[in-house]
């Protein structure tokens, strides 16, 4: 069944339209706009669900010249992601009005949330590289706005900027990767460069094309940077915990269930295209490293949301690793865990919101034993938390088990060193169990004495996580239900050789089972030393700051700011001589190399016959120039400058240019007059010391040489006699210009347009002078 273009477009566009209308909606509905959002999300969900089972690509023309179109593919993988986004969107919108009650800036909040949802649906469905990138970047922008929701809060600003930096910056790498892909695809597939559906239809050909041009690894790496940045993979994971400055519903929606999974989603999407040994090494390694390190960091967390954030990064690592393994089971792990994690982690974030909302704190050491205060919440947490820990028979167990299988399979394939993968995965899982238990202790541990009265949450806060927990429970009990409904077919999209997927509780020994057993056992045992482990991990970044999450970022950003401000004041040091030196020196170098490059200098011939009076006059001009340089006072200098002007006037006379001579002299005199008028107002100034005369002299000589060469080169290139244009003017001046003064005819007739410009310059000079003097106090009047 082919998807319906209209439905798809509406599903993508509806949230954007709603976002655009939010200011209006907010005026109408006030804080209840959230429910409108929920309705929109629900509508999207419904529209997308209506496409369930369809498979194919539809396109809306956008930029035909570049063959860019709004192409959308509907398949199980896309639907899985889009449905998750809109489904959880419904819950988050429904949760928000109560949670965000009384906050200001809610219109902005809902607009961004809606736009975000549209973007996610767009990314999920996009089948055009540019369209994909479009929605991809929009998610980052929305995330920026939402993380910075508390605009007055410094940590919000900090986190928002960091997220922007990492995700949008990562997006740039992705863009380059996509362009490389498009370049090759354009060649290989004959045209359809940006058509992702077409590219994915010919994965081998395109990959071969990439390899042929030695572009495979760069493309892979660039896309990996983009995806890794978005999905908080080490070493770009640090932004995610900071992003928890966003309101909790945002964290649940963007930073656990949807946006951060965009990277994973893309990895899954491109998996059939790029899968290879390099792919395996890259993503399996990065994914497992992220999974383990972030799990450990979650253990070290002090704040509920921080714990959940690191946990999210860790689970994202798990998914990336799963997709990284080239076996089918790896893809199964990736897809299924993406699904499971979305459900349980969104629930947990919403729970964290309830706790923070009702207990007034998010600090782990100030919370505990809340099960009596919040019994339903406790039940929700138990289901979701155990799923997160990967304890059988909860849903997380199944998908993690698939990953373990994939690591083992890979290890068999790779030999001894390959066993690092299962080992690391196991260690990561130990930490996962540890922090999950710690999270559960919020409800089931000892209630700290300082904790005050904790209210029951309103039903509207509780319902969404409860629904998610219920779904988790369903998947836990009937994992096959999910597999059959969507996961299997989604996996089929991400693999090249699909085969049917089985999940369930293990019935026999396997290395994966053993790994799970070790993880759970070791996790449970070490929980008793939680305090020491927690403190131990915390102390590492204290001892070695570069290991700390934000350290590199801070160093880099502060360094940039510092460098920027220092560079600007070094380069633009406020000295005209510096400016002129650079400008002129560059001009010199460029020009001389230009003449050298064409051997124009070599070919120059030099004439020597001279007209003595012209020579004399110009000599005086130069001598006057020297005298100006050496002149002891301003008056002396100006008078000397006048000689220069007079000599040039004589030169004009001797060169048979009476008009020029006249103009030169009258202008010279006026300049002299203006100089004197100015000198009246200023004191004599004598330059202190000789300073950098040598340096200036070198530059001046350089400029002189440049001008010298220009004259030599051009005069020798000059053809004999007058130019055609000049001849034309001479011939036509009388019969067609009606004047015998050819120069004047040129000025007022042949080239009167130049003269008009010249006039304008004179007029502007006059009004500029008035303005300069009139606006004297203007600066103060500002």
């Amino acid at each position: 069944m082919s998807p319906d273009l209209t439905v798809v477009i509406i599903a993508v566009a509806l949230p954007f339209v709603a976002a655009g209308l939010t200011p209006l909606l907010f005026r109408l509905f006030g804080e209840r706009t959230g429910y409108v959002g929920a309705a929109v999300a629900f509508a999207c969900f419904g529209l997308l669900a209506s496409q369930y089972g369809s498979d194919g690509t539809v396109a809306l023309s956008w930029i035909p010249s570049l063959e860019i179109a709004l192409r959308f593919t509907v398949d199980a993988w896309a639907l899985l992601f889009a449905l998750l986004a809109s489904g959880i969107g419904v819950l988050v919108f429904a949760y928000s009005p109560v949670y965000m009650h009384g906050e200001s800036g809610l219109a902005r909040y809902y607009a961004a949330l809606l736009a975000f949802m549209g973007s996610i649906i767009g990314v999920a469905l996009a089948a055009d590289l540019i369209a994909l990138f479009l929605f991809w970047e929009l998610t980052s922008v929305c995330s920026f706005v939402l993380i910075g929701f508390h605009t007055a809060d410094r940590s919000s600003q900090y986190a928002a900027r960091m997220a922007m930096f990492v995700t949008v910056g990562g997006g740039l790498f992705l863009l380059v990767g996509l362009l490389l892909l498009a370049l090759v695809a354009g060649n290989v597939l004959d045209g359809s460069a940006f058509d992702l559906a077409a590219i994915l239809a010919e994965p081998e050909a395109v990959q071969a094309g990439l390899r042929e041009r030695n572009l495979f690894v760069p493309t892979l790496a660039l896309i990996a940077v983009g995806a890794g940045a978005k999905s908080a993979q080490i070493p770009l994971h640090f932004w995610l915990p900071n992003a928890m400055a966003a309101p909790t519903p945002v964290s649940a929606f963007l930073h656990s269930a949807t946006m951060v999974k965009v990277g994973v989603y893309l990895i899954g999407r491109l998996r059939p295209l790029l899968t290879s040994t390099e792919w395996l090494f890259l993503f399996a390694t990065v994914g497992l490293a992220t999974m383990t390190v972030c799990a450990a960091l979650a253990v070290a967390s002090r704040d509920i949301k921080e714990l959940l954030a690191y946990s999210t990064a860790s689970h994202l690592g798990l998914m990336v690793a799963g997709f990284g393994f080239t076996s089918v089971v790896g893809a199964e792990a990736g897809v299924f865990h993406l699904f499971n994690h979305a459900l349980f982690k969104a629930a947990l974030f919403l729970v964290a919101g309830i706790v923070a909302h009702e207990a007034g704190t998010r600090r782990l050491d100030e919370l505990g034993g809340l099960r009596r205060d919040l019994p339903v919440t406790a039940a929700v947490t138990a289901i979701a938390g155990l799923s997160m820990a990967g304890i059988p028979p909860f849903s997380g167990f199944y998908s993690k088990e698939l990953l373990f299988e994939a690591t083992v399979e890979a290890a068999y394939g790779l030999g001894t060193l390959g066993w690092i993968y299962p080992a690391v995965a196991t260690i990561g899982s130990v930490f996962t169990v540890l922090y999950s238990l710690r999270f559960l202790a919020l409800f089931f541990g000892r209630r700290p004495d300082g904790l005050g009265r904790v209210h029951r949450p309103p039903i509207l806060l509780l319902a969404p996580p409860a629904l998610l927990a219920a779904l988790t429970a369903v998947v836990s009990v009937y994992p096959d239900l999910a597999v059959r409904a969507i996961v299997q077919s989604a996996v089929d999209v991400t693999v090249t050789d699909p085969h049917s997927m089985h999940v369930g509780l293990p019935r026999a020994y396997s290395p994966a089972v053993e790994m799970s057993a070790i993880a759970i056992g070791l996790g449970a045992v070490s929980y008793f030393s939680f305090g020491r482990i927690h403190g131990g991990i915390r102390s590492i970044p204290v001892a070695v700051p570069p290991i700390g999450a934000n350290w590199w970022y801070d160093v880099a950003v502060d360094g940039l700011t510092e460098t920027g401000s220092r560079l600007a004041s070094t380069v633009h040091n406020g000295l005209l001589r510096t400016y002129a030196t650079w400008t002129l020196a560059t001009t010199c170098v460029l020009t001389i190399s230009g003449f050298v490059a064409t051997r124009a200098v070599v070919g120059a011939t030099v004439g020597i016959e001279a007209s003595p009076e012209i020579g004399l006059v110009l000599l005086v001009a130069v001598v006057a120039g020297v005298a100006v340089v050496l002149s002891p006072s301003h008056v002396a200098g100006i008078l000397t400058l006048s000689i220069l002007g007079f000599m040039i006037a004589i030169f004009y006379i001797l060169a048979s240019a009476p008009d020029l001579a006249l103009t030169q002299l009258v202008v010279e005199t006026l300049i002299l007059l203006v100089f004197l008028l100015i000198l009246e107002e200023i004191p004599e100034y004598y330059e202190v010391g000789l300073g950098k005369v040598a340096r200036d002299a070198v530059l001046s000589i350089g400029i002189g040489v440049t001008a010298f060469l220009t004259v030599i080169v051009t005069t020798s290139a000059r053809s004999e006699g007058t130019s055609d244009v000049a001849r034309y003017y001479t011939e036509r001046a009388v019969p067609e210009g009606g004047g015998t003064n050819i120069v004047n005819v040129v000025l007022v007739d042949f080239r009167s347009f130049d003269t008009l410009g010249e006039l304008v310059v004179v007029a502007i000079a006059a009004i500029s002078v008035i303005t300069l003097l009139v606006m004297r106090s203007g600066g103060d009047a500002e």
Binding site: P632, S633, V635, A636
Partner: protein, 120 residues
Amino acid sequence: MIREAIVIALVLVGSFFLTVGTIGLLRLPNVYNRMHATSKPTTLGTAAIFLAGFVSFGPGSEGLTSLIGIVFLFMTVPTGAHMIARSAQRIGVPFLEGVTWPAESSQARRTDETGEETDE
């Protein structure tokens, strides 16, 4: 032929006096004395050359303009010289040894500074 001869003569005379003026400018001891050299011979020299122009182009046409040139020179060169001399005296350029200032009036305007300008 006669006209040419007159022109040549006038050009020679003019050149001679211009040269005299310039040499005077260089040789004479201070600005007041130099001014004697420049005001008289250069005016006459230029006038002679203008006169050559009159002879060459005249009596009508640009010859007339040459005459205006002469008149103009005689009107302006002495005034210019007077302005310069006055300025020299006002800013206190000293006269030669033995020169006395006829102090009938306005002695006060003789500025106090003596000696050459500070710019040397």
